[in-house]
Symmetry: C2
Subunit: 378 residues, 2 copies
């Protein structure tokens, strides 16, 4: 299986303001987009891939001169891969509010001439879906063969089926949930407090001070990492392994390998991720709750999606978005007699499994996209 090779992102400019769920609007904005494969003549082979917190439009391939720049879902998307770019035209869009090139908090607020910072409009999953729909309009694509996403990306995939059902053939929602649990929100809130109370946050306007709230970002990332990995995989990978043969008896130095790993992940993340983006994206996660406007009845929320076929995938050791949460989605679909395939993959890697190359998991997605491809060929 080959890579899609070297890819080049494009910047799409949108002059029409985007109305947001909060009542605010996002003025003229840029979105970073990448595509892989070729759009067929009747524009029926497009698959949109929605990204999660720490990802972007750069789904597959590498950038010229940067060998280590593989896209975040490169193991899934490419010629001969489960989402086969010989058959599909795959689209990655960096959501507004993110920090990978699309308009976000670090860009200039036209009303003030200074960076948006904490004044960037609060974004929701629904707003991202609407922004992505405009990208399809721009590319001349009326209807997606499929929309695909994992985790927060899975929420966007689900939202597509509720918001623009006539534009979606199939929905593939991996390692996701119909909303966050109290515990999920709690972890987000701790991470946000770590960022907001970092003195270098400056109320979200740290750009003007030439600093970055790295302490908060580090802690936020460390918390995130714990929730992405299963207890068992952390135990298998690190256990109680010591950095040195003898204990140092220190409260501040590294004693255990797991500490070293977490500090490294935190440090790396704090070098590139935007603090305001972290707040925005975790809030979008908190807010997502399609059942809310139906009195908590998720089945009622899915009524508009009756003509779409769903594939829902969960991982046994994912304690962030457990299989039970995916089964809630499946039940709501079944209650509507909507076609749904459900795979609960016995994988040890926790939430992170959705990004990894598990053969059973990739087998399910390969079969799903082969079936979708046959439907297009007809």
């Amino acid at each position: 299986m080959a890579s899609v090779g070297h890819v080049t992102p494009q910047t799409l400019r949108f002059d029409a303001p985007l109305p947001l769920r909060s009542g605010a609007t996002l003025p003229a904005y840029d979105l970073m987009v990448e595509t892989y494969g070729t759009l067929n003549a009747d524009k029926s082979n497009a698959v949109l891939v929605c990204h999660a917190l720490n990802a972007s439009h750069h789904v597959a391939g590498t950038y010229e001169g940067q060998d280590k720049s593989e896209g975040w879902w490169d193991n899934l998307v490419g010629p001969g891969k489960p989402l086969d770019t010989n058959r599909f035209f795959v689209i990655g869009v960096n959501n507004p509010g993110s920090c990978f090139g699309s308009t976000g908090p670090m860009h200039t607020n036209p009303a003030t001439g200074t960076p948006w910072g904490a004044d960037f409009p609060v974004m929701t999953v629904e707003d991202w879906v609407d922004a992505q729909a405009r990208v399809l309009d721009r590319l001349g694509i009326q209807r997606l063969a499929a929309v695909l996403g994992g985790s927060l990306g899975g929420m966007q995939a689900l939202s597509w089926t509720l918001r623009h059902p006539q534009r979606v053939g199939e929905c593939v929602a991996v390692a996701t949930a119909p909303n966050l649990s109290a515990q999920n929100i709690a972890f987000n809130e701790v991470a946000r407090r770590a960022i907001i109370t970092d003195p270098d946050f400056h109320g979200g306007h740290f750009y003007a001070h030439g600093v970055v709230p790295k302490r908060g970002l580090r802690v936020a990332r460390m918390i995130g990492h714990i929730t992405y990995l299963s207890d068992d995989s952390m135990e298998a990978k690190f256990g109680r392994s010591m950095r040195e043969a003898e204990l140092a008896y220190s409260t501040q130095d590294i004693e255990f390998q797991i500490e070293s790993y977490l500090r490294y992940q935190g440090d790396k993340f704090s070098e590139y991720f935007d603090a305001n983006t972290y707040l925005l994206i975790t809030r979008a996660l908190d807010y997502f709750d399609p059942a809310r406007e139906h009195g908590g009845d998720l089945a009622a929320a899915f009524v508009p999606a009756s003509d779409i076929r769903f594939t829902v995938v969960s991982f046994t050791t994912d304690w962030r978005f457990s299989p039970a949460r995916s089964r809630e989605i499946v039940k709501a679909l079944v209650d509507n007699r909507i076609a749904v395939s459900y795979a609960e993959i016995d994988a040890p890697h926790g939430h992170d499994a959705f990004l990894l190359e598990d053969p059973r998991y990739h087998g399910v997605l390969r079969a799903t996209f082969e079936r979708i491809a046959r439907g297009i060929a007809k």
Copy 2:
């Protein structure tokens, strides 16, 4: 069932330095101690209660003029309660390094004349057990009818049976583990990083600066709280309840009740808990690992405890120290043909259950201490 009523702590002074596992020694020190009930003539009815992170010598009763000052295990310890002070002489000791009156990081380092701060010697579970043994010496008690503890207190109870087996009749270890998992250490490490990277920490010598690293303590406590509660009990108690009927669409304001709860807990904790104590106690948790010096063989570690009777209790929804961890202890005991009763309590409250008044849980402890009392009466 009555309370033990008004209680008065006593300060015990120890002039002989305490040799520590790290190789350092703790110079002359004070320990805060409370006792409840009456020591019988042959001094055979003493029960030592070991405390966890956010607790102290104040196990039961109230302080005169402070109605809300109930001890942390007041529901368990008192006249007619499961640990019945009409029959037992119950002892609570605040461990050195803690911040509730015993010598700790906020006290004066005799070598410098300034607060110990981060230079306070690193304490281990074994060091605390040795310090507690000296308290028994002072009280003229050669042998405990039982040693009891939950969580980190349970580790101390277990350590008693390995370190001073001839001084322990029974060991009651609740909601504990034979060591921390990688995930447990990871949560501790994030909390420590939040504290250490708070600019008000000043390398652990914040006392001299007239500040307290409250931001770090708040984040640490919020993380802790998430791990003390079960996912289900958090869901039952808070779910996705909003603070207001309408969303505010804000990344910084409180939207969900769970956020309000966590912030309140963090704020309250940061008002009284010492940051250096937090580091010390979480490190003691990390280090506890009796199997380590036996090549990881927990059964080999328990060989010295062969004449002690154990009661091990776990809670089904405790994901911090899950029932599987308690079963490791039980297996190691059974492998040694040591007498052990094991109760896995079906309780919804997660790790916190060990502090709550669950009837099945308290029933197990009541039956255990009634049996122990009968053994003393003989």
